[in-house]
């Protein structure tokens, strides 16, 4: 039976119920361009999604050298053939007419076309001049969470050992920096403990600030399927919005912004008070229990209820839910990571799992999520403010080891201080100590907080900016040199998703015009700069994706993210494999920490930890005395009030977030017709109570103003918590009159006009959810609803005020039931 569904109207498609401990049935989702029949497809090319962190495996349909569609891979354990709406429709953006096809350089204030040689010579000449005159600290690299592993690794080698700069980070700083930091604080090392397969076995699934229905839609399909099967899981949802998760939750908590630590401390308090603790696990595998117990001793549900503004009875129910189950899976995302006390809160979720012994077995696990598809790769490769292979910059042995891999002197690799994080890099650029910023695959002029400040940094005369991207993004428009990049489907590389699953994504078609793979661009630069190792040989010895992958394998050997058992050939004939994958575990590793904590020993750990409240780093001596045997660390934290609280002038809390139809700054999804039509413009969500009080309604045009700036959008009253405004994060200016920012005819549209420059002191992740704002009416609605979708958390509180979001025939997608080959399933054991 084949079934065609409008996957804009029904983003999660049809249901296939299955019971606890059973295998999630496969279903192949296919979308082909209008008029293309499956039989007419000439080649199917293996790939995986780069429009969110699921790592959904798919095949790209190719006919006459063009991409004509995609199909989920049923053999893959991550998605079992399913695809989300972004996967189904997003590929069409590759063929947009406004792709960059030639390099551009700024001449007399204007970007003009040029050839690669000229553009790259300009970049190399400026680099050399800055190196000579101001040293390596004057050059910074800001990369993405959307490139491939081979590209990050090459960039890390050329930046750290070639240029010798400490300034290399990715936009994963906005996305997964707290996930990484929280894992380092607790387990001494990065690395996702759990597996998506844990969803098949869990009894309770707690989603902390994680709107999985919209950010990881395929895993939400999995939960929906389980909820319709035998012995369904119960959900705990912590989110201020009426998300789909909230609608399906056994307990939904909608705390005030910035109060996660208070809530979590109350959950820990209840867990300890009722003695819902796995003492043996705590004794065998952790340190710090007494301190934690002491810290949360006074954090009663009543205490937290006042701070979080949720009923104490609900907190008790939530505590019972997570405290009495035998199989708890927790997931964490931006509602925690981009909010006040981000790392402190994320760590408390780790603590909950440790004291309950919920780790390392099917159905008991922890998923500190990623937002971006290849965020995990920046972390492993050290392109995100860490050293490659989860090495510890404070440990000279680790640095020496890395220097050996690269055949350079250890002093070549800057390790006198932690690698500079993105927000600090922008500060250095603002102040003038960074004079060149090379931005690859990301769009800070929309995605960073306080955009007027970011624009003023990027437009400084003295700052030389190189932007490497697919389109003339808001950021590219401000650049000095623009390099046209090839993307997914036009180049080959590996990518690793949020549960450590490595996929290979192969080149299916040629990139447009002169656009080049990011890897080729970095290699070209390295050649022009003539980077050398300590014996005078070339520093970078590889020249294509596969040889770069092989080089990375050597760097990963013996480290937690060991790739030595993988190869392109193996990834080709199996589909996703989870690292570590080496001689001992050639089929990969489903879960970390199945028999204890592996990487927290003082000699092995990636980090000695930080003070969660101040960010002060610990030294090895302290770490050694605290944790001599390398157990997991139960790190307590006190609640502190947010840095900005509503007042008379700015009476609302303001939060931003992601929605199902758009990705990042809409660079690609805004160019896929079905996705664009589903959510074409920014909107502002308000609670019905606040809307009534202010006499405002659906479709009214409003200004959201903060101390930093303003944006304008149409209002959507929803079931969001009172006192809070929500604005989607994705919208920028490339499709408006003024191009790169607000202008005379373009009022503010990006949520980040209004967000605050503040970051978590431990993870350095900027906070997008803790600003305050005022709301003013610009103009009454004209009867047209706001452009917010009705299928998601943005659904109107009053049914019928807006036409249901639908894609029509253009969004019809096939769903075919399929057999999942049992041999490779890890599940029902």
């Amino acid at each position: 039976m084949e079934d065609a569904t409008d996957r804009i109207a029904q983003p999660w498609g049809g249901r296939v119920p299955y019971g606890r401990h059973e295998t999630w049935p496969a279903r192949v989702d296919t979308f082909l361009a209008d008029g293309v029949e499956p039989e007419a497809v000439q080649r199917w090319v293996q790939s995986a999604s780069i429009l969110h962190s699921d790592g959904d495996a798919m095949d790209i349909a190719v006919t006459d050298g063009r991409m004509v569609g995609v199909r989920g891979r049923d053999v893959d354990r991550v998605n079992r053939g399913r695809l989300g709406p972004k996967d189904l429709f997003g590929w069409q953006a590759n063929a947009s007419r406004d792709r960059l096809t030639r390099p551009l350089v700024r001449r007399d204030g204007r970007l003009v076309e040029t050839d690669w040689d000229t553009a790259m010579d300009v970049v190399a000449a400026r680099s050399r001049e800055l190196l000579d005159r101001r040293g390596p600290g004057s050059i910074g690299f800001y990369t993405s969470g959307q490139l491939f592993l081979e590209e990050y690794y090459t960039l890390a080698v050329l930046a750290r050992a070639g240029i010798g700069t400490n300034h290399l980070d990715g936009n994963t700083r906005l996305c997964t920096a707290t996930a990484a930091e929280a894992l380092k604080e607790t387990f001494g090392c990065d690395g996702q403990p759990g597996s998506y397969d844990d969803f098949d076995h869990a009894d309770v699934i707690a989603l902390f600030g994680h709107n999985i229905a919209e950010t990881q839609p395929v895993q939400w399909m999995r939960l929906l399927d389980r909820m319709e099967g035998a012995d369904p899981p119960r959900l705990l949802c912590v989110d201020p919005r009426p998300t789909r998760v909230a609608q399906h939750a056994a307990v939904h908590l909608a705390p005030r912004g910035g109060t996660n630590v208070a809530l979590l401390n109350a959950l820990l308090h209840e867990t300890i008070r009722h003695d819902r603790i796995d003492r043996d696990f705590v004794d065998a595998h952790t340190v710090g229990f007494e301190e934690l117990a002491e810290r949360v001793a006074d954090c009663t549900p009543k205490w937290a209820a006042d701070i979080c503004d949720v009923p104490a009875a609900r907190i008790e129910e939530a505590a019972e839910l997570v405290g009495t189950t035998d199989a708890l899976v927790s997931t964490v995302l931006q509602g925690v990571y981009q909010s006040h006390q981000a790392t402190a809160a994320a760590v408390q979720i780790n603590n909950l799992h440790l004291i309950r012994g919920m780790l390392g077995r099917p159905g008991a696990g922890l998923l500190q999520m990623n937002g971006q598809p290849t965020a995990q790769n920046t972390r492993e490769c050290g392109a995100n403010g860490d050293l490659p292979g989860f090495r510890n910059w404070q440990n000279d042995t680790h640095v020496a080891d890395l220097a050996k891999v690269w055949n350079v002197e250890p002093e070549t690799i800057p390790h006198f201080a932690p690698p500079t994080h993105a927000m600090q890099m922008y500060r250095y650029a603002e102040q003038g100590s960074i004079r060149m910023l090379w931005i690859s695959g990301t769009n800070p002029a929309v995605s960073l907080p306080e955009l007027s400040r970011i624009r003023s940094i990027l437009t400084q005369e003295r700052l030389f900016t190189v932007v490497q991207d697919l389109f003339l993004t808001e950021t590219a428009q401000l650049a000095d040199v623009v390099l046209p990049a090839a993307t997914w489907g036009e180049k080959t590389g590996a990518l690793t998703n949020a549960d450590r699953t490595v996929h290979l994504s192969e080149k299916a078609v040629e990139p447009p015009g002169e656009a080049r793979p990011d890897l080729d661009i970095f290699l070209d630069y390295a050649r022009r700069m003539d980077f050398r190792d300590k014996d005078g040989g070339p520093l970078i010895t590889w020249d294509d994706p596969e040889s770069a992958f092989e080089a990375w394998k050597r760097c990963s050997a013996g480290r937690p993210c060991d790739y030595t058992g993988l190869s392109y050939a193996k990834l080709r004939d199996t589909s996703g494999i989870q690292w570590p994958c080496d001689e001992e575990s050639p089929e990969g590793t489903a879960r970390l920490y199945t028999d204890g904590i592996d990487w927290a020993h003082p000699d092995l750990c990636e980090s000695y930890g930080k003070d969660l409240e101040t960010g002060a780093s610990q030294e090895v001596v302290e770490y050694r005395s605290l944790n001599p045997d390398g157990k997991a660390v139960l790190k307590a934290a006190a609640y502190r009030p947010p840095h900005e609280e509503p007042d008379e002038e700015y009476p609302f809390q303001l939060t931003t977030g992601r929605t199902i139809y758009q990705f990042h700054t809409r660079t690609k999804t805004g160019r896929a017709p079905q996705l664009d039509a589903a959510a074409p413009d920014v909107w502002v969500e308000i609670s019905t109570a606040d809307a009534d009080r202010l006499g405002l309604g659906e479709g009214d045009l409003v200004d959201v103003t903060s101390r930093r700036g303003a944006l304008r959008g149409r209002l959507r009253p929803t079931g969001i918590r009172p006192g809070l405004l929500f604005v989607p994060f994705h919208y920028g200016y490339w499709d408006t009159d003024d191009g790169s920012g607000p202008g005379p005819d373009t009022p503010g549209r990006a949520a980040n006009e209004a967000t605050i420059t503040d970051w978590d002191p431990a993870s350095k992740q900027p906070l997008f959810k803790t600003a305050t704002a005022a709301l003013t009416l610009v103009e009454r609605g004209d009867g047209r609803p706001s452009p917010a979708p009705t299928t998601t958390a943005s659904a109107p509180a009053t049914a019928g005020v807006a036409r249901p979001t639908a894609g029509g025939p253009a969004a019809h997608t096939a769903q075919t039931p399929a057999e999942f080959p049992h041999g490779r399933e890890e599940g029902a054991q």
Binding site: R134, G135, G137, S138, N166, F416, A417, P418, T420, M423, Q424, R427, Y428, E430, Q431, G432, S433, Q460, D611, E613, T614, G615, A616, S617, Q618, R640, H643, T757, D758, W759, P761, K764
Partner: protein, 163 residues
């Protein structure tokens, strides 16, 4: 006046100063966002220390003042804020920042030593109240020191090499 009340007085003065200096530094370096926010948070600890020291002193019949006002002193704060925004694009304030962080570090270190002295004296005189006070406040003072130390360590390479 005995040595304990003398130490309480000294520490009270020291924590008052530190609270004030943290807020001043936070204002002066508004455009160094991390310094601004964390210094503001850390000032809360010192204010709390001042309050608790005054309480303890009252138990020893010594009257010590309240913590300084929460808000930094109006006009000057505005001036400092304006000054910090005026130089947002200049490198030189980096030196001033390092100097300020150093001063904070030294002030916190002095307080730390005084907490040590107080704790020792409390032990010798079996004053469990004071010992409790010292052992709950001193760790926060140490954390203030670690923070300034970390910031200096992280920022110096860039700031001193770019002048």
């Amino acid at each position: 006046m005995n040595g304990i009340t003398l130490t309480l007085r000294t520490l009270h003065r020291g924590e008052r100063h530190l609270a004030h200096d943290l807020v001043t530094v936070a204002e002066r370096h508004r455009t160094e966002h991390e310094v601004h926010h964390v210094a503001t948070d850390l000032a809360v600890w010192s204010r709390e220390h001042v309050r608790r020291l005054a309480e303890a002193a009252a138990g020893h019949d010594v009257k010590l003042g309240d913590p300084p006002d929460h808000s930094p002193d109006g006009v000057f704060a505005t001036l400092r804020k304006k000054a910090s925004e005026a130089v947002v694009h200049r490198p030189e304030p980096g030196l001033l920042l390092l100097r300020d962080l150093r001063e904070l570090h030294v002030a916190a270190a002095e307080n730390s030593l005084h907490w040590e002295m107080l704790a020792q004296a409390a032990q010798a005189s079996r004053d469990s109240g004071l010992l409790e006070l010292a052992s709950s406040c001193h760790p926060q003072t140490l954390r203030q020191m670690r923070w300034t130390n970390t910031m200096i360590k992280n920022l110096s390479p860039q700031l001193l090499n770019s002048l």
